[in-house]
Point group: C2
Chain length 427, copies 2
């Protein structure tokens, strides 16, 4: 047998969730779906599993979900982490350590290393249609930090409220509110955010996910983009998973159209791993210096070594290869989830399947609360996000179901359990 | 010849500044003292070399110093970066990548990884006399971030002003002020901060460097410690270089005496490299949860891989070995600098020689401004910090002279140039 056949066999077993790679620890057989539960570890004010779905979500909600014991994790937000390119990362780290001059270990440029800013500028040109000079790129510790820094700068500029999509990311809203900003909801329709409603809100800025709206998956339409360009405010473009498009080419970033009014934020959390805490911001020229100042005060700049390793993975084409592999794998998992939903949740309306790492299912005209369904799912060992967490206004119940990090067989088991949970609550 | 002899020869050549290791790039001969100047790279509002010493220091002053072309860098704040344990770091990274479970690449605990919190707790017990549970340890992106987070939390607790040592770190003052806090100066004497003056200020908190006062090197005396314990406010203990003590054992941290009122901050910037952007905070119990919340909002927690690598270096004893080696090397460089000062700056008073990474020289009853001397030194290609940057009140002129990152031969050349500069300005 050739090495290719063995590799392919291992890969399929891995993708179906029968085995899991443990790096040098070899490959081990995984019991599915009855995998052992994680130990719950409380952090400060983290709500208990009981309180999680019976009280409104606090800033501790995502920690609570993370530490919640489960056998199947369908919470949205992560790519396939089992595919993290450990060997390529180590090779790049070796090269970085071999070549870094002594001064590279000292205090650095708060904007990030030249190497990563150059690699990001190239990546954005190639994949997001954005022409950016590397000197414009600010390296940050993920989108969470980007939101905090941008919020600080907009507040200093006199902006008191940032419109947010409805429904829209709870996490984004929490980070902006922590900066003392109001986050009035701006409704969506099938073309994305309603610019007429945005005008009515009278806000100076809006936070958008134009390429793949979180959580509905709507793409901001061409006419709506032109309308938005005519609107005078600042757009905070959260391009969180734009590279993951399955059925057609990615939509260019808004930033490529109106650089003077768009503050663009991207990260490697959905490309490689959230644990890398690495992202980038392109600010409009008038905010660029104050944003660098905010980053300097935040932490004097990201750590150097991981930036240089990432720059190598981007420049060598490793990250592109990884993304292509992820896209194929994620697409198969999305298909598995769509099919499982068709069979086990036949009345659910599925949205956002063309791109991203999760699906949104809603239950139109249903009488139950989605937090009730999410709680019943947890009783079956399945973690999801209730849609209502990501809403400020009432609407039909729904669930956000991540598929990217979960093998097809586990997705099937998880959605089967969701069907049981739905029947139990009378949905 | 044995390998040991060759290694020793290379080490001496390296320590004397004749050769420099470039990792896998081999060892190259360094021209001393006429090494090529770095390219100046402006960042946003970074002041020009001309403005640097003629205008009061802004928040951009340290970036300006960093990018200033020079042949000899005696600015304080860095350990010997040429000694960074590249091979040990890579070995630890390989082990981390081989063993990390898939979930380790996802979003993590905002407090940091269990592994690093455990290693830091052990380190603090062993080297700083602090008994801390790993669950109390918060991993942060260096002391800069620690100051921002602690400032946020103290401000939310109603504290409006934090006393700072006079003289004291400009950087610390800038970070606290950025949080909207006032920083009234509290004078020092030969036993450290004057607690009677602190009482008069009527502040609710004070930022101190008790083990080795920055920049004077004074150690907070025993009676003064007891006085401080009787004072009712919060102490922000910045333990920035406490492990580097040459002539006697390190002084235990204040935190070990009054954990309920001391917010302790340490980092690896002076142990390994500032570019790692890794540090830790131990907060008083009543601030612990709000501090974790502040870290979550800042960036959701430090990146996982470097934390795990560092934890291995700490647990395996590599960091301890590195520290012992650094201490020997730094001590020799300190001796070289003290001797060079005796010869070339005979009227300078030297302070802070017992510990740390820099010396303070002052020129009592001198008529010149230290910024003038620092500017004249730059004209000779030598970077230093004028003492007045780290003062809020008038005082005799002085310079902060870092020796840890500079080989003895280069120190000698740098101090010789300082002597010339001093004569040029008529000092």
């Amino acid at each position: 047998m050739s090495r290719g056949v063995v590799t392919e066999a291992y890969q399929r077993l891995s993708e179906d969730g029968h085995v899991e790679g443990r790096g040098r620890g070899g490959t081990v057989v995984v019991a599915v779906p009855g995998a052992p539960v994680e130990q719950a570890r409380g952090i400060g004010r983290t709500p208990s599993a009981e309180a999680l779905f019976t009280t409104p979500p606090t800033v501790h909600v995502f920690d609570a979900v993370r530490v919640l014991p489960s056998r199947i994790d369908l919470s949205p937000g992560a790519p396939d982490l089992a595919a993290f390119p450990r060997a390529a990362w180590l090779r790049a780290e070796r090269a970085v350590l071999a070549e870094l001059p002594t001064s590279g270990f000292g205090y650095g440029d708060p904007r990030g290393t030249e190497e990563l800013r150059r690699a990001v500028a190239y990546w954005l040109a190639r994949y997001r249609g954005i022409a950016a000079d590397p000197r414009e790129v600010l390296i940050v510790a993920g989108t969470a930090q980007a939101l905090g820094l941008i919020g600080t700068v907009l507040r200093e500029d006199g902006i008191r409220a940032i419109g947010v999509e409805e429904p829209g990311s709870l996490g984004v809203r929490q980070h902006l509110r922590n900066q003392g900003l109001e986050t009035p909801p701006v409704p969506l329709d099938e073309d994305g955010v309603r610019v007429d409603a945005l005008r009515e809100q009278g806000v100076g800025a809006v936070a958008l996910t134009p390429a793949h709206q979180f959580p509905t998956g709507v793409v901001l339409g061409g006419a709506r983009r032109r309308e938005l360009m005519a609107w005078g405010g600042v757009v905070l473009e959260d391009d969180y998973d734009a590279e993951h498009r399955y059925d057609r080419a990615p939509v260019p970033a808004l930033r490529s159209m109106v650089p003077e009014r768009v503050c663009y934020a991207g990260s490697v959390s959905k490309l490689l791993a959230p644990a890398l805490r690495t992202g980038w911001v392109l600010a409009p020229p008038r905010y660029r210096d104050t944003l660098v100042d905010a980053k300097r005060f935040a932490d004097l700049g990201n750590a150097a070594l991981p930036q240089l390793v990432l720059a190598r993975l981007m420049e060598s084409g490793e990250l592109e290869r990884h993304l292509r592999m992820l896209r194929r794998r994620h697409r198969r998992r999305r298909d598995a989830m769509t099919e499982a939903i068709r069979r086990h949740l036949p009345r659910a309306v599925v949205r956002g399947a063309a791109a991203g790492l999760h699906l949104l299912v809603t239950f139109e005209a249903a009488a139950f609360a989605d937090t009730e369904l999410a709680a019943a799912a947890v009783a079956h060992g399945v973690k999801t996000h209730p849609l209502s967490w990501h809403r400020q206004l009432p609407g039909p119940p729904g669930l956000l179901l991540g598929y990217a990090a979960t093998p097809a067989a586990v997705i099937e088991a998880g959605v089967t359990a969701l069907g049981q949970a739905l029947r139990e609550i009378g949905g």
